[in-house]
């Protein structure tokens, strides 16, 4: 069970594949099974040829688009599902946080559910007795602990579930996007707990959609796509690949409108040297390029762009007019480039909306909502919300 470099693997995944049967409608009764004998199921591979070593005490992030097999892999490690091929070896007690408060019974009180849930997650009664006050305090439910869980709000339910889960004492902790619950303060607390687990030398496998979190927490990241490993390695590099993958898959649901007197024929983003790029580092230059065609000559059109982030917050926008480019009469084809100096964004996905309209903005010739997307991926040297160019100096005094 020892990896080549002498590190102990807490989890060894060797050539693992998982095949599911997919039913159009699952024939769950004997009659249906007899009628539709051997025809309705189609097979698909949720995971294929996955090999990962997770060193003891390390934190592995699993990222990938929806349906890429992340949760399936977690369930295989936990022993909930059985691999169709390959082997998985695990060392030590596993706690899988696949759903918070799984097994909570609405008719039981918070206290009773804590004991039930804790035992299912592997805590003995004595251990639970010892940890009970800490669990209740963590969940911030002192007043409600003897109330039936059916009277809890969903937030209270989740808090109690998480509180139990983080107090179990696993060697390997599997976390499935559970940190995306609760209010900000509670999320903070959960992250602190995860970091404490790391300091205690526990192995963590972590499924998330948030690249930010991956960069912050993980030592190693695996990018899954359609059940296969797309990339594996240090967070920064894999997150970059992830963004690239997502750019390809979810580009431009751009709604279009306008009179098309002037039409945006094509548009693209480039690096400052004209090279095709889909991701940028903070401070990189960028070129937004539009090819326009006038179907009928128009007077003084204005070409504009706007950048929004993935929360649809308006980040930046400007137009040709303000930048001193005008066309008294716009005829034929033109190529318009906006050359952006250093990008001040630090991290995230951004969408570019493009438009051509009359100077008084009364007539819209052509707009494309979110026509382009690009990603900014921070290096480890940049943290925070915006990029500020920094030079660091030192001199002997």
């Amino acid at each position: 069970m020892t990896a080549a470099d002498g590190m102990t693997a807490a989890v060894e995944i060797r050539g693992v594949g998982k095949r599911f049967k997919r039913y159009r409608e699952k024939p769950a009764t004997l009659k249906e099974r007899l009628i539709r004998f051997r025809q309705t199921s189609e097979e698909f591979w949720a995971l294929h040829d996955v090999t990962i070593d997770i060193a003891q005490g390390s934190t592995l992030g699993l990222i990938g688009p929806n349906g890429s097999g992340k949760t399936t892999l977690l369930k295989l490690i936990a022993g909930i599902l059985r691999p169709t091929e390959g082997t998985i070896s695990t060392r030590g007690r596993i706690a899988a946080l696949l759903a918070l408060g799984a097994g909570f019974h609405p008719e039981l009180t918070g206290r009773e559910n804590v004991y039930l849930n804790a035992s299912i997650l592997g805590l003995s009664r004595a251990e639970t007795d010892r940890l009970f006050d800490a669990i209740v305090e963590f969940a911030e439910l002192q007043e409600f602990i003897d109330t039936q869980v059916k009277f809890y709000s969903s937030g209270m339910y989740v808090r109690l579930g998480f509180a139990v889960a983080v107090h179990v004492d696993p060697a390997i902790l599997l976390v499935d996007e559970v940190l995306a619950v609760g209010d900000i303060a509670f999320q903070r607390k959960c992250l602190d707990k995860v970091e404490a687990f790391q300091r205690e030398g526990r192995t963590i496998v972590f499924v998330t959609h948030a690249p930010d979190l991956v960069m912050r927490i993980c030592d190693q990241v695996v990018l899954l796509d359609h059940g296969r490993i797309r990339a594996q390695g240090p967070p920064q590099q894999v997150v970059r690949d992830f963004r690239l993958l997502m750019t390809r898959t979810d580009l431009a649901y751009g709604a279009e409108e306008g009179t098309k007197e002037v039409e945006i024929v094509s548009a693209d983003v480039f690096g400052s040297n004209g090279e095709a790029r889909e991701w940028f580092e903070p401070g990189d230059g960028m070129v937004i390029q539009l090819d326009l065609k006038a179907n009928t000559p128009v007077e003084g059109p204005v070409v504009s762009f706007a950048i929004h982030d993935d929360q649809n917050q308006f980040v930046f926008g400007t137009n040709s007019d303000w930048r001193g480019v005008t066309w008294p009469l716009f005829e034929g084809k033109h190529r318009v480039q906006f050359v952006l100096g250093g990008l001040p964004m630090v991290d995230g996905r951004f969408y570019v909306t493009l438009g051509v309209h009359s100077r008084d903005a009364r007539t819209v010739y052509h707009t494309m909502q979110q026509a382009l997307a690009f990603d900014v991926v921070r290096g480890p040297e940049n943290t925070g919300a915006v990029n500020i160019p920094v030079e660091c100096r030192s001199e002997r005094l």
């Binding site: 369930k75 936990a78 909930i80 691999p83 696949l98 039981l108 035992s119 205690e200």
Partner: protein
């Protein structure tokens, strides 16, 4: 908390999952089950608690139910439907308690895995615990009913102390093993075919009337062996393990095959040793059956999370 990772040598055992369906190693698995026995206790407690939730008397109902049962049967058969069986309530209850454990366990067990789908698909724990918890919950009622019946018999000074009582633990062993065997089987089957829980109801009704709970087993013996001289049919009757188990309970508690006042035997007038041997055979057979059912359950349990 220590910041130093545990050395590999001190780490707990390695769990390996492969494409092979899990094979049952009974001894190792029993050890594993023993390690998680607290889940079982908590699940049983949950079942019992949930059953009586929002009721004023709560768990008192577990005790009250058999008492009322006993009162109603004593009254009905003493006054409304007098028959020629002395102490009919004792006869009826001694078999019915055993049957109730069996039927209640199967009813709960059939739904045990399916109803806990949210648990089975999200958390790993030995799945056997679910049908076992059904058995545990039904056992709570079994024990209370037994206590009530014994208290009642003591109160009316029913003479039941004697060698016959040796049949009680043996019959219980057979009952428990057979019930657990069927529970494991029914629970696993219902995951794949939900028809099971519906078939079970009608099946149990049929089975109930094939088992001498309400009608005296002695009548059957009398009809088949004495009146019709058909030992083959009698053997067929005994092929029902529940019939043998119930007769074991009846002999242990009702004691006398043909009490004074009965024109035909209430219990088959076989020797205690012969009955003990038959019940013992059923017990051994049931234990074998339970291990087989456990193996089937274990084998199928690897795919439960997918089937739900």
């Amino acid at each position: 908390m220590a910041a130093v990772p545990t050395p590999a040598s001190e780490l707990p055992e390695v769990a390996v999952h492969t494409s092979e369906p899990p094979r049952l190693h009974p001894i190792g698995r029993l050890r594993e089950l023993w390690g998680v026995r607290e889940i079982l206790g908590n699940l049983v407690r949950k079942e019992v608690k949930v059953k009586y939730t929002s009721s004023v008397l709560g768990a008192l109902w577990s005790l009250l139910n058999p008492i009322l049962y006993l009162a109603v049967f004593s009254l009905v058969f003493a006054l409304v439907l007098p028959n020629r069986i002395p102490h009919f309530a004792v006869y009826l209850l001694s078999g019915l308690i055993a049957w109730n454990l069996f039927a209640a366990t199967l009813g709960l067990a059939a739904r045990s895995v399916v109803d806990n789908a949210n648990l089975v698909t999200k958390v790993y724990f030995p799945r056997e615990i679910l049908p076992l918890a059904s058995f545990g919950a039904a056992s709570v009622d079994f024990v209370l009913q037994m206590v009530v019946l014994l208290a009642f018999m003591a109160a009316i000074r029913y003479p039941f102390l004697g060698w016959n009582l040796l049949l009680l633990p043996l019959s219980m062993l057979a009952l428990f093993a057979f019930t657990v065997a069927m529970a494991l089987w029914v629970a696993a089957l219902n995951v794949r075919y939900r028809d099971t829980q519906h078939l079970l109801n009608i099946g149990l009704t049929l089975w109930f009337w094939l088992t001498p709970v309400v009608y005296p087993s002695g009548f059957v013996w009398n009809k088949l062996l004495v009146e019709h001289d058909a030992p083959a049919l009698w053997n067929l009757f005994l092929a029902n393990p529940m019939a043998v188990i119930v007769m074991g309970f009846q002999r242990a508690l009702y004691v006398t095959p043909q009490p004074a006042g009965a024109t035909t035997p209430v219990l088959p007038p076989v020797s205690l040793a012969w009955l003990a041997m038959v019940v013992g055979a059923v017990a051994v057979g049931s234990i074998v059956l339970a291990v087989l059912a456990w193996r089937t359950f274990f084998h199928m349990s690897g795919d439960f999370a997918e089937e739900l």
